[in-house]
Point group: C2
Chain length 207, copies 2
Amino acid sequence: MELKNMTLKEFCDKVAEKSPVPGGGAVGAIVASLAASLNQMVANLTIGKKKYEEYEEIMEEVLENMELSRRRLQDIADRDIRAFNKVMEAFKIPKDNPERKEKLEHALKEAADVPFELARESRNVMKYTEITCKWGNKNAISDAFSAAELSLAAFKIAMYNVLINLKSIKDSAFVKHYEEELKELKGEIEGIYNNIKELIAANGFEI
Amino acid sequence: MELKNMTLKEFCDKVAEKSPVPGGGAVGAIVASLAASLNQMVANLTIGKKKYEEYEEIMEEVLENMELSRRRLQDIADRDIRAFNKVMEAFKIPKDNPERKEKLEHALKEAADVPFELARESRNVMKYTEITCKWGNKNAISDAFSAAELSLAAFKIAMYNVLINLKSIKDSAFVKHYEEELKELKGEIEGIYNNIKELIAANGFEI
């Protein structure tokens, strides 16, 4: 069953049970989808208002981009589960089987790849969140700020899920490359989040 | 329709559309539920393992408490929508109607109350997250850390949603009381989060 067709209750129950999937990776993708959805809502509440006329075009772009992002995120959530299941299968291969090492390494790389895509997608959602925080309808500004918290959380979750897989990967060039890319993404996302934090304070939402 | 019976896709679509509900408040409650569910998963993966025998009892408490918390959070999500709808109705009362002022004030207070409950519930989830981060199965530690990010995000979202309603409330004693309580909660939650951040770094999950 595709995750998007599960009810909220079913999904929470599935996460909670004694099985590592769906776990943080899939949850992170859902959380990023919620951020994208909030951005769409803010854009929808901004479009057509005389006061925000000059931001009409950029809000149309928010709508379109976030819709595509949500589709990719739903796909990431489903793939995260499949990738993790492959790791579990590889771990079950008997230790004296000569194929074990390679299959496990391959599965772990895939299991690192999927949350890495989530990390990249979270950056995209955070970028569009800056737009809704800056130019969105002020009546919905708390929703835009909420999207910022969710984009940041989704990125951090993605990061933890990449890192836990990297810990078991032997290919040190692969590990180094991913760590560096993650560091760069982190700097970028935290930079945008800090801009938004200034808006949060300037609008009197910091206590 | 109760939120918990919506599919993930339906919920995201509902958030995204041109209507302020469901908005940040309901999304925040769902996000806190996801954090609670991840804590349950970590507890489930810890219970019954010889290595973690000494934490069996506390993990049983995590399971029980987080299950109850999820029920309260689902209720908060539904009530957030109803409270917001009441505010929208009160805003529609003609300005020359003498009842308008009181009805609007009452609706706004309720709309601040519900996310305030979410803020309190996020503190509870964060408390239990510290337990799963400290004593949970190390193989699922990225999931416990993910729960920490979600608890923090849920609290911030709750805070923004309380504050946006406080801005329109005339009763200054009410506003002051809520702001102070929120500040206290914030200090407490950030304190626990900072403890968890040390665990994140100590376990090599910081880059």
